[in-house]
Subunit: 177 residues, 2 copies
């Protein structure tokens, strides 16, 4: 299992190797275009904010983690988020588990498959004044996706939330106790 997970991660990294990933690595680019957001050290140990699923083209299951500043703000219901808050969204393929379903009364178990990508949102009202105070990055196999248009779409999408729920500070996720 662990081995399968690591295999998928390595496979993703190798796939990336053929295109954008190696290019980013060659350029020494460890940060996202536009915002210069990096994959935060130790983020995989951060506390859970919530879980979610996207159907449709994404067809993923996801977890949203936060650093201490972000988690504190979520738990206190504090909006806007203070500077220094970092939210990390991990997405994996949404897959039925034949093994688990062999135990359950009906086919009902869906689990996280291969990792898809990790998206990072960093709150810094000064540095990111032009994008609602948030800087964005998307990472695959540990490397930033260098596609400027993709990274531009982060703010474009999050900013749509401002019209629907102005108090959300452009964050889709609510804390799950």
């Amino acid at each position: 299992m662990m081995r399968a997970g690591m295999g998928a991660l390595i496979a993703s990294a190798l796939l990336l190797g053929g295109s954008a990933g190696i290019a980013a690595q060659r350029q020494g680019a460890q940060a996202s275009p536009i915002y210069g957001v990096r994959l935060p050290k130790g983020y995989r140990d951060w506390a859970l904010i919530s879980v979610a699923r996207e159907k449709g083209r994404n067809n993923d299951i996801r977890a949203i983690l936060g650093n201490a500043i972000a988690v504190k703000a979520f738990r206190e219901g504090r909006r806007p988020f203070p500077d220094g808050a970092i939210i990390v969204r991990l997405a994996w393929r949404y897959e039925p588990s034949a093994r688990n379903d062999a135990v359950f009364p009906t086919p009902q178990s869906f689990v996280a498959g291969a990792p898809i990508n990790v998206q990072v949102s960093v709150k810094d009202t000064k540095r990111y004044a032009d994008s609602g105070g948030w800087g964005y990055g998307q990472f695959e196999g540990g490397l930033p996706n260098p596609d400027r248009a993709l990274v531009e779409s982060c703010f474009a999408c999050h900013n749509k939330l401002a019209a629907i729920e102005p108090g959300a500070d452009l964050v889709f996720t609510d804390y799950s106790p």
Copy 2:
């Protein structure tokens, strides 16, 4: 948001209050029947092992967290788990998000709703020698469910995994990188 989440938690606690919850509290029972498993302090800050979803009657979305011993074993692919490993599974109602879908191109967003319950597995090969080395408990609104039959069903179900994947040490979840 936070307020809604807390409201749901309080509502769950109040609902429980009418039946088993208060009874358990009155008896001072903070631990599960049979195994005496308690809700571990600080578990909500533990690292994420993976996420999953159960369709059917459960209709939930879930996160699996682990203490440091469990997470280390998961990451190293170590089985059986060492004594002291604790795995905590949190489940929430699986709900479409009309708010998020208003932003996305098609209805596709599902999020965690009200909390359902928290299940705890504790590895202790001596104490729990009769149940494959694992002790179990289920908690609602922070209180242990006192139903012996329900808690007996934990091992009955996990033990079915032994025939399908003997090396899994009765654990359904794999680590998601």
